[in-house]
Symmetry: C2
Subunit: 293 residues, 2 copies
Amino acid sequence: MTPKDLQTTHLPRVEKEMINFLTGVTTDERLLASMLYSIRAGGKRIRPQLLLAVVSGFDKPVETGVYQTAAALEMIHTYSLIHDDLPAMDDDPLRRGMPTNHIEYGEATAILAGDGLLTEAFHLLSSAVLPAEEKLLLIQLLAKRAGSGGMVAGQAADIQGENQRLSLAELQNIHQRKTGDLLSYALVAGGILAQQPVEVLAQLEQLAAHVGLAFQIRDDLLDVTATTAELGKAAHKDAAAGKNTYPELLGLDKAKEALSDELAAAEKLINELTATLPFSGELLQELLLKFRL
Amino acid sequence: MTPKDLQTTHLPRVEKEMINFLTGVTTDERLLASMLYSIRAGGKRIRPQLLLAVVSGFDKPVETGVYQTAAALEMIHTYSLIHDDLPAMDDDPLRRGMPTNHIEYGEATAILAGDGLLTEAFHLLSSAVLPAEEKLLLIQLLAKRAGSGGMVAGQAADIQGENQRLSLAELQNIHQRKTGDLLSYALVAGGILAQQPVEVLAQLEQLAAHVGLAFQIRDDLLDVTATTAELGKAAHKDAAAGKNTYPELLGLDKAKEALSDELAAAEKLINELTATLPFSGELLQELLLKFRL
């Protein structure tokens, strides 16, 4: 799989899985419109890209079940954005340059669209064209990473940490839950779909920890250095909201250094995988280039 | 299983499964407190009761996997109540005589507690002590009944229908989704856990349609006839919110008649099951007595 294949052939298939599945199961028109609005708002599809890069790195066929797993993951990610943007949460009017879901459809529908996407992710995964044991493993891991010991816990801790000064360790822990856990699922699910043994899944998980931190530090840095037009969402919101961020805690230079360190550690782990396994890490390395500032 | 066993032995086991599982997986203290607050607020546990009554009606052993399935179902029901009570939805300050989750923990935590319970229901079900194929079937059906073609769709239609006059057919359709689908899951999941063939699952689903309607008509009637103290939540809210209800659409007498009709239809179907299968319907009949006014 080349980076171009990924963009022009494989991501559109993931997109299609999401849209077709939601359209097929949803019985309320306005609810469907609201869910598809946020799905179509797109974004970079980082998580599906990472998942596909791992599966193809192991030279496994990328078939329907793989697209469905990637689609379920992106549906979970999309629900989390809709709920995070709500007035009671981050109160964001703008996402990817477009009005957020609750601005466009109202708060009640946005809450339900999030609930719907979250539930349908498990519906899609349980219906995927994959062996039963593999599906159960994927469902269990997704629920664990997305749930109250994972992403939801990170979001809760993030909100509680507002307007309090956190230590670097506390901040890292929040980000590991809030964004790292779902990125971790992307890589490990790729390994599960490629039928890798637990030791390899553990290596992928280790890699994911660095990828997750790099992702978050970059996000924090962009909030400080970029404009609203560049981001497609309101810039400089973190400081205004009293959020703990890496630039805030470490200063701009040290934060940039931390980003480089995490990316270097990730690169090293990918090289170890390619050295010890029949694994090609080129596409993964290519994706990590986008994590640079 | 006698009605007394159900109350004193089996429901406490379901309760324990919910509390132990959530306590085991949740890493954020405030989030856990908020989830357990709504779980412990209790209620009648109608759905677990129906599920247990079906399993034991088929004279199947009620083991850990059955309690876990009932616990996952009640977690989904509890999440739906938390989200339904939110200011942007039904805006209810009181539930079962206690402040609602967002009144007690704030809106952000209440949204996340709902998201957590919803996700952990699938985590628990995927980890249950049951055969793989049975778990997948239960997960798939639960997601279908709870998702954007089921409960979430019903909630969306209910909100859109406020302050509009609906036909009886439209109202029934909303209720079938909003409350009927999860009650239906309770009965059909009981049949799946008792390893029943699809024809029997279809009969249970038919039964569930009447049980679901009876439940909703009774709920609508109580909103009109009972006091806030009796309900443990605000009475006379439906009319104030411009909700479509059975008494509103049919008048009080006809609504009471419709309740009797649905219960009679349910009773007839239970009798058919006991006449044609090795199934004892006593406990189910006993539970339906509580659906009378």
